[in-house]
């Protein structure tokens, strides 16, 4: 078992009303799964991903990640956990504008205090694998959307995570680019990386092994 969510609630207070973002979410994900989360805008897909990625808090419920009780962990401990095991891919790529492709991919290693020589080797491998060696000295603005997302994925993979969380990874891409990215995810999954993606697209969801549906912060079990 990679992770397990039990009775997760998340809400915000707006005036005297309480608005639920997540409501009684129960979810188990095994290692090696490729899961898709679907649902309309505002249904809580991103919130759920952020909770799973430990970037966001929840108000109630229990969350175990690799048998660690996330809900009981201190901020710092939690950060160490996601640094170690989780890679993030965003719809808007979120590359750092001031850094080159090479440096963007390298940054997570810097924060893990990986030695310089080892860093070079790891980044070179990654560039090679994604066929972007020729682009390593370019800045994000100089790349197409698909290429930027490739760099984003390469950056997420560089620290060898067990789990990739992808929030509408193809939302800003055209269909051909989308297909390439999804193929890539499928390959990664075949290599053993667990993937959870949030998506609007049935087509993208079909790459996964399992799909869950959200509506108004609840799992929608009708379909």
């Amino acid at each position: 078992m990679l992770l397990e969510l039990k009775n997760i609630y998340k809400w915000v207070n707006s005036g005297s009303r309480r608005i639920f973002l997540l409501k009684d979410i129960n979810l188990e994900v095994k290692e090696g799964e490729f899961m898709s989360i679907m649902g309309p805008s505002g249904s809580g897909k991103s919130t759920l991903l952020n909770v799973i990625g430990m970037l966001d808090h929840f108000n109630e419920g229990t969350y175990n990640f690799l048998n660690e009780p996330v809900h009981e962990l201190k901020e710092k401990h939690r950060a160490n956990l996601y640094k170690e095991y989780i890679g993030f891919v965003f719809q808007a790529y979120h590359l750092i504008d001031e850094l080159t492709v090479y440096e963007n991919i390298e940054t997570p290693l810097l924060y893990k205090n990986v030695k310089s020589s080892e860093r070079k080797a790891l980044v070179a491998d990654m560039l090679d694998r994604f066929n972007i060696v020729g682009k390593k000295d370019l800045f994000p603005q100089q790349l197409s959307g698909g290429q930027q997302q490739l760099v984003g994925i390469a950056r997420a993979l560089i620290s060898k995570p067990k789990l990739i969380l992808a929030d509408e990874p193809t939302g800003n891409l055209n269909s051909k680019q989308s297909e390439e990215i999804m193929e890539l995810f499928k390959d990664l999954n075949n290599e053993g990386v667990t993937i959870i993606q949030a998506t609007h697209s049935e087509m993208n969801a079909s790459y996964g092994s399992r799909t869950i549906h959200l509506l108004d912060g609840m799992r929608n079990r009708t379909n």
């Binding site: 952020n50 950060a79 993030f88 940054t107 924060y111 893990k112 205090n113």
Partner: protein, 799 residues
């Protein structure tokens, strides 16, 4: 890792050129101010420290009470040194000193030299002025020996060795016995020549308590306690035997104080050979430098926090990728470090460049190489580190502490508490600027008042020429010759010029109300004095030729009468009206009649009220001619005067200056501080405005969409400009309200030093406020105009 931080920092500087420019330029100015002022303060604090005996040398000052008045002077009589040396075992040695000017002649080289030091033979033993040639124990052991400084040796002898050559000084042939290094600029005693004290003439060969014209230093034994010795000395001075000797009767007394050599320059109120520095000015300088640096640092903090919205995505991502809080913190501190380091290099270049102007401002003579020394560089380094943290700390703390999810979702909030800090910083910056502006305006107003005050005489167009050597023998001849020069209105002579009379004296008057003893200032003057200087008589007349016949030296001076002119204050002090005074007999040098009462004029600086003044007719005390000339064709008149001068004075240099220069020199310290404050005020407002400019640019960008929407809803350009400027104008107004009273208080405190002073007027405050608001409006208006005139469709499409 660090490399990565620096890379990011450099790329950010490149990306935000405006902000980078504001920050680097501002910090460079702030750091340069600190560096230069550090140099100045270091010099002030190092005064006289080069003397290896510094801790054992004291200067003796004299305090005496006579006719109900207590006087403190830095000069002492000839007796003090030898007497104390004989009497007190703590005193190891003494040296009496005096600096005078004289013609110096060697071969066909003849110059007038101003810095000829007369000192006892112990001089080189007590003070550390290194002798390049000659032995310190013997260089002054005979009256015909003289020591030159290196530059004088060069000036008179070129590459020849001056040793044992004969030069003519004070009309005597003297043998050069030694050459010493040039006196350092942090020495209170600066000289070009040194010869024996006794060369001053027969007057100094007698030991006297009074006739105090000499500055005496004592060398104390190791471990002697200065304040104990001072007590012992004054106990001795108040013993009956000595009181009798000093003719101290009743409550009168004569006491001495000992000032440690190292305290003289900054802490003594009594000027010796040169005007003292002031510890107050040292503090003011420090405060000004720090204020400017503070304004520049505040700019950095402000712009950095304002930019945080733009940077939030980056920070969020870094955190998602595993950056810890401290890693982000270090990244931002390294950014401020990079900016500060560039600014530091620039500051050093800037300081080197502006050193001549800085010298002008402070009256110092710093050389460029003095900046490239370990001490100033270390100081600069320390400031660099300090500023890096000071300016970068807050942005680093705020940005590194942000929550990841908040940043990723909605961007970084730049409102709320950061904007409160930003507003406070702006208010602080402008309060400092407004304070400096108002304070400077008031100082400048007072300086203008000093310049144009009706002094009771006309200081303009009066040429001052020194009388020296045997010129007194031809006094009348020279005077008449000058009188006849075309363009000369009137000629007179006196012991000293009237702007700052130093001759202290006493007067005895016996009238129906009894005997008055009055201590006062006295002026020996020649004929036409009041006329030449444009003074007005309140009663009676100026001296005339026939007054000389009163001064009858025949019959053993038995018929000698001294004619006097007194000022109104003196008449009032005695209890006479000006008219009553005429013809009354008073006694100073001799009994004599008052022939005139002159209207009060300022014969001391405007710091002090007009005191009693006595003028007595004398030709033999004349040391300066004063020549009033027409205001048209001044150059022509001067060159005609020079021709006459060269004809009649046997080649004495025509060293003229104008009386108003002497007058202005009295206020050198004030002039310097007014200049300093003007520059500081200017820098402060420029830096504060630069910061504002950056912030306004930023705010406008941030509000582009809002402005677009407002315009589509029908807002006019005026609305938009007002919308953007309103907040800034409000902040600046608050700073004016805060700064104005403080500036008024400080300025009034400064004005307290003057007896004759201006009242700060309302217009000063209104001008300062108006100028500041106008500058703000222009600064901010530029951006708001740009925003207001942009096409709203464009700004809305960016979404």
């Amino acid at each position: 890792m660090i490399k990565n931080y620096f890379k990011i920092a450099f790329r950010n500087i490149r990306k935000n050129k405006l902000y980078a420019f504001i920050n680097i330029f501002g910090l460079a100015i702030g750091l340069a101010s600190c560096l230069l002022i550090g140099l100045y303060i270091n010099n002030e604090l190092s005064y006289d420290k080069f003397n290896s005996n510094a801790s054992r040398i004291v200067r003796i000052t004299m305090e005496y009470k006579m006719s109900d008045e207590v006087n403190n002077i830095a000069t002492t009589g000839t007796k003090v040194g030898p007497e104390f040396n004989r009497t007190f075992p703590e005193v190891e040695d003494y040296v009496r000193t005096y600096i005078s000017s004289s013609n110096v002649k060697y071969g066909n080289k003849l110059f007038n030299e101003d810095r000829i030091l007369f000192a006892d033979p112990s001089f080189f033993k007590i003070f550390t002025f290194n002798l390049i040639e000659g032995n310190f124990a013997t260089v002054l052991d005979a009256p015909n020996k003289i020591v030159l400084t290196q530059s004088m040796a060069k000036k008179y002898f070129g590459n020849e060795s001056p040793i044992n050559k004969t030069i003519t000084v004070i009309g005597k042939e003297m043998t050069v016995s030694g050459v010493c290094e040039d006196t350092p600029k942090n020495a209170q005693l600066k000289f070009d020549f040194v010869t024996q004290f006794l060369n001053l003439g027969n007057g100094v060969k007698v030991e006297e308590w009074y006739t105090a014209n000499w500055i005496t230093y004592l060398l104390l034994n190791e471990g002697a306690n200065v304040s104990n010795l001072e007590k012992k000395i004054n106990k001795y001075m108040n013993s009956d035997a000595i009181r009798k000797q000093t003719r101290a009767e009743g409550t009168n007394y004569l006491n001495y104080h000992l000032e440690p050599l190292l305290d003289v320059h900054l802490k003594s109120d009594l000027a010796g050979f040169e005007p003292n520095g002031s510890i107050t000015y040292v503090y003011i300088f420090i405060i000004i430098a720090l204020l400017i640096l503070l304004i520049a640092s505040a700019n950095y903090t402000n712009l950095a926090t304002a930019q945080s919205t733009q940077r939030s995505g980056e920070i969020g991502m870094r955190k998602v990728m595993g950056a810890s809080k401290s890693q982000v913190f270090i990244q931002f501190i390294s950014e401020s470090t990079v900016v500060t380091c560039i600014a530091t290099v620039l500051a050093l270049l800037l300081s080197v460049g502006v050193i001549p102007y800085f010298n002008q401002m402070t009256g110092q003579t710093f050389e460029r190489f003095e900046l490239i020394q370990p001490m100033p560089l270390l100081l600069l380094g320390i400031f660099c580190v300090l500023v890096s943290f000071l300016a970068g700390l807050y942005p680093a703390l705020v940005l590194s502490g942000a929550q990841v999810i908040g940043i990723l979702k909605k961007g970084f909030s730049s409102t709320g508490k950061h904007s409160l800090l930003r507003k406070s910083l702006i208010v602080g910056q402008f309060a400092i600027s407004v304070f400096l502006i108002i304070y400077t305006l008031i100082i400048l107003q007072q300086m203008d008042f000093i310049k144009n005050k009706n002094l009771g005489y006309d200081k303009d167009h009066v040429v001052v020429l020194p009388i020296g050597g045997d010129m007194l023998n031809n006094f009348q001849l020279i005077k008449d010759a000058m009188q006849n020069v075309n363009g000369v209105t009137s000629v007179t002579a006196a012991y000293e010029t009237p702007e700052f009379v130093q001759w202290g004296d006493g007067l005895t008057v016996t009238d129906e109300k009894g005997k008055h003893d009055i201590s006062l200032k006295a002026m020996p003057v020649e004929l036409d004095f009041t006329k030449t200087l444009g003074m007005t008589m309140a009663a009676g007349r100026d001296f005339v030729q026939s007054d000389f016949s009163l001064m009858d030296t025949l019959n053993n001076w038995s018929n000698y009468k001294q004619p006097y002119i007194i000022n109104e204050t003196l008449a009032r002090q005695i209890g006479w009206t000006p008219e009553e005074s005429i013809g009354r007999l008073i006694e100073n040098r001799a009994l004599g009649p008052v022939v005139g009462v002159v209207k009060d004029f300022n014969f001391s600086s405007l710091h002090e009220p007009i005191g009693p003044l006595l003028m007595f007719l004398s030709r033999n005390f004349s040391r300066t001619y004063m020549v009033r000339i027409n205001s048209n064709d001044i150059q022509g008149t001067l060159s005609r005067l020079e021709t006459v001068w060269n004809d009649r004075t046997a080649g004495r240099p025509f060293n003229y200056h104008f009386l108003d220069e002497d007058y202005n020199a009295l206020y050198k310290a004030e002039q310097r501080s007014s200049l300093l404050f003007s520059v500081a005020a200017m820098l402060a407002i420029i830096l504060a405005c630069l910061g504002l400019f950056g912030l306004a640019a930023f705010t406008t960008v941030q509000r582009t969409k809002e402005i677009g929407i407002r315009k589509t809803l029908g807002a006019t350009l005026t609305h938009i400009v007002l919308l953007i400027s309103k907040n800034f104008l409000m902040l600046v107004s608050i700073s004016i309200v805060i700064a104005a009273p403080i500036a008024l208080f400080a300025a009034q405190n400064w004005l307290q030093n003057f007896t004759y002073k201006i009242e700060p007027r309302m217009w000063v405050f209104i001008t300062a406020a108006a100028v500041t608001l106008l500058i703000t409006l222009v600064t901010v208006g530029f951006h708001s105009l740009k925003a207001g005139m942009s096409n709203p469709v464009k700004s809305l499409r960016t979404e």
